[in-house]
């Protein structure tokens, strides 16, 4: 048999072109490539993730508004109040369509009143202002990234904010001896969905900057489902019979960061907030006065009376 050299070599050239193209595609994928599945066949959650929704400001649908408001000239048109007046547009709550199914959080009447009170006093009360651990689900939708490391029997999430972290135990997990800020998470796979049961919370965290709160009876069921190779649908069923009349649900999208240089940098705010919440106890007041072109601010500090003095 005589092989026609030219046709065979033409075919070889074609094959090489295909292979070279395939190699180019593999190589240009770079660090953004992750296999869609882990070695044990589960969806690959490894990476750095962050929401873009405004849920941390307000879980319900909300218009733009001042972060701290006071009455303006009209009753229902508040203006920037003193703590943020110098910040202008940087002192606003951006609008958002809400993340709660049915756009209603079913508070019991007395709890609804407490939420409104919290919202009015959020700067004094929101644990986020003091860089306290954010709890779950709030950690998942803070406007800062977090990194997931998907191990073989645990999934670890480390949050840039406050260096908070959570361990999701896959399978049997020892019960914690005490209530925790970040709760206790036990997860399992249902097909492509990671289902996580979270309990053993204390009552110290909020769900948003709008005063949404819970008791130590809080119980969550989270569902993480990939909707694209780089996005997860994150759904949480919230129940707390002390605070809500029924369970309710929120859902949002988590986006994987695709920069080649994506890295989690520590937002170590414990030190950074000392002036705000301990500055009133300095021997000599430190932050007193600030002048801008059209605004002069004066700060006086004071120690509250009675038990409020010892509040953390």
């Amino acid at each position: 048999m005589r092989i026609r050299f030219t046709r065979v070599s033409g075919a070889a050239a074609g094959a090489v072109v295909i292979a070279v193209f395939a190699l180019a595609v593999i190589q240009t994928a770079g660090q953004a490539t992750r296999t869609p599945r882990t070695a044990d066949g589960k969806p690959n959650l490894n990476g750095i993730w962050q929401v873009t929704t405004t849920a941390n400001w307000d879980l319900l649908a909300h218009s733009v508004r001042p972060a701290v408001a006071q009455p303006g000239v009209y009753d229902n048109h508040p203006v920037l109040a003193a703590p943020v007046v110098a910040l202008g547009a940087a002192g606003l709550v951006p609008p958002g369509p809400g993340v709660v199914e049915g756009n209603e959080i079913p508070y019991k009447p007395e709890a609804a009143a407490r939420k409104r009170d919290n919202a009015e006093h959020w700067l004094d009360r929101d644990p986020e202002v003091r860089c306290y651990m954010p709890g779950i689900p709030r950690a998942m939708y803070m406007p800062y990234p977090f990194q997931i490391t998907q191990g073989t029997n645990k999934i670890q999430m480390v949050f840039a904010y406050a260096n908070a972290s959570r361990t999701i135990y896959l399978g049997a997990a020892p019960a914690p001896p005490a209530d925790m800020w970040m709760g206790h998470s036990v997860g399992r796979w249902e097909g492509n969905t990671l289902v996580v049961d979270v309990s053993d919370f204390n009552d110290r965290t909020w769900l948003s900057r709008s005063g949404d709160f819970h008791s130590d009876a809080l119980h969550l069921v989270e569902r993480f489902t990939p909707i694209t190779p780089d996005a997860l649908r994150y759904e949480v069923t919230v129940e707390d019979p002390n605070v809500f009349t029924r369970p309710w649900k929120m859902n949002m999208v988590l986006y994987r960061q695709l920069e080649d240089n994506a890295a989690l940098i520590d937002y170590r705010c414990v030190e950074l907030v000392e002036e705000t919440f301990l500055g009133h106890l300095r021997k000599n007041q430190l932050v007193k006065h600030w002048e801008g072109d059209t605004i002069v601010l004066d700060v006086t500090r004071r120690t509250p009376n009675g038990d409020k003095r010892y509040e953390r």
């Binding site: 030219t6 070599s9 033409g10 070889a12 190699l23 190589q27 240009t28 994928a29 770079g30 873009t52 218009s63 733009v64 972060a67 006071q70 000239v73 203006v79 920037l80 109040a81 003193a82 703590p83 943020v84 007046v85 110098a86 910040l87 202008g88 547009a89 940087a90 609008p95 369509p97 004094d124 929101d126 986020e128 202002v129 860089c131 800062y144 406050a162 694209t228 999208v253 986006y255 960061q257 695709l258 080649d260 240089n261 937002y267 030190e271 907030v273 002036e275 705000t276 500055g279 932050v287 600030w290 801008g292 072109d293 059209t294 605004i295 002069v296 601010l297 004066d298 700060v299 500090r301």
Partner: protein
């Protein structure tokens, strides 16, 4: 000779290709922008990638284009220790909410190549952020800043125009894919003319006034600013956005930023009204009210008192 290439030539070429490619692979560091598998990207009837949809950046570029640590606030004053400043009065009550989160930079080489004089001005801007950043006053953000404000924007891709509408300040820009007259004046959002290079939309942006900043860190430009953007699909739901910035009045050489833009995938996502013009009136004009309105706020451990004043004319009339 029969039809077709000479076998030896083809084989030589094939081995040459392999050799060249392996050299590139071993020598290469940062891979080229990841090109999405051609078939998965949404396309218009003319075969071009269709970028229509709602998009948003997901980084800290609007705080600072270069890599930066966390800070107690953007407005700070000296603390007890020289290297540990504290939040100043305008943000003190906000605690961690007023902090500057850390972030990886988006600038190639992580340095913005200011001329020495311009660097001084940037530092001065940084110190006077609240008085000078146009974002504070809800002014239009210009290009490229509009692309990485932490709010969504919508792309509507027609056949000869692409329109982008930004939730922030209802800013918008039109990218002309067709021939148009040059813009008669300078504007806040500039004049954008685009064309396709394969799957990449290349946009030439000129005619921007000098009043916008690049971020909250005082990075600025002159009216000689020239921006060339490149939008390349990374995945069906992510665009690699690059912008080369040239401004010989401010920078010693052109420099480049790059970042992903992510398609918003929430079913209920929509652009909402970020009507900040009304919201910032108290800041911009509150000092000119007949009666002061915002005077005092009391928290548990602090009272913040506000006095307004009318600045000298050169500042008063400065917008």
């Amino acid at each position: 000779m029969r039809r077709g290439l000479k076998g030896s030539t083809v084989l030589l070429g094939a081995f040459g290709a392999i050799a060249l490619l392996s050299l590139a692979v071993i020598a290469g560091q940062a891979p080229a922008p990841r090109a999405a598998a051609a078939s998965q990207v949404k396309r218009q009837a003319n075969g071009k990638p269709d970028f229509s949809g709602i998009w948003q950046a997901n980084n800290t570029a609007n705080w600072d284009l270069v890599t930066h640590e966390a800070l107690p606030a953007r407005v700070m004053q000296p603390g007890v220790h020289a290297l540990a400043p504290v939040p100043a009065a305008p943000v003190l009550a906000l605690g961690a909410v007023g902090g500057v989160p850390p972030g990886m930079g988006v600038v190639e080489g992580d340095v913005i190549p200011y001329t020495p004089a311009a660097l001084q001005k940037k530092k001065d801007n940084y110190e006077h952020w609240l008085d000078r950043d146009p974002e504070i006053k809800c002014y239009q953000p210009g290009v490229p800043r509009a692309m990485y404000m932490p709010y969504p924007f919508q792309i509507l891709q027609g056949t000869n125009k692409i329109m982008m509408v930004f939730e922030y300040a209802n800013a918008q820009r039109t990218i002309h894919l067709d021939q148009v007259e040059p813009y008669p004046n300078d504007s806040w959002m500039g004049h954008s003319v685009g064309h396709w290079e394969g799957d990449t939309l290349v946009v030439d942006v000129t005619s921007q006034i000098d009043k916008t900043w690049f971020d909250r860190a005082g990075d600025f430009h002159s009216d000689a600013l020239h921006v060339v953007e490149r939008y390349t699909p990374m995945t069906p739901d992510a665009i690699r956005y690059e912008a080369t910035i040239t401004d010989p009045a401010v920078f010693m050489r052109p420099w480049k930023i790059a970042m992903p833009l992510y398609r918003r995938l929430e079913p209920n996502v929509q652009l909402m009204d970020y009507r900040c013009i009304e919201m910032v009136e108290e800041l911009l004009y509150g000092n000119l009210r007949k009666q002061p309105l915002v005077r005092k706020w009391e928290g548990q451990t602090m009272t913040v008192s506000v006095e307004r004043r009318i600045p000298p004319p050169d500042i008063l009339y400065e917008r």
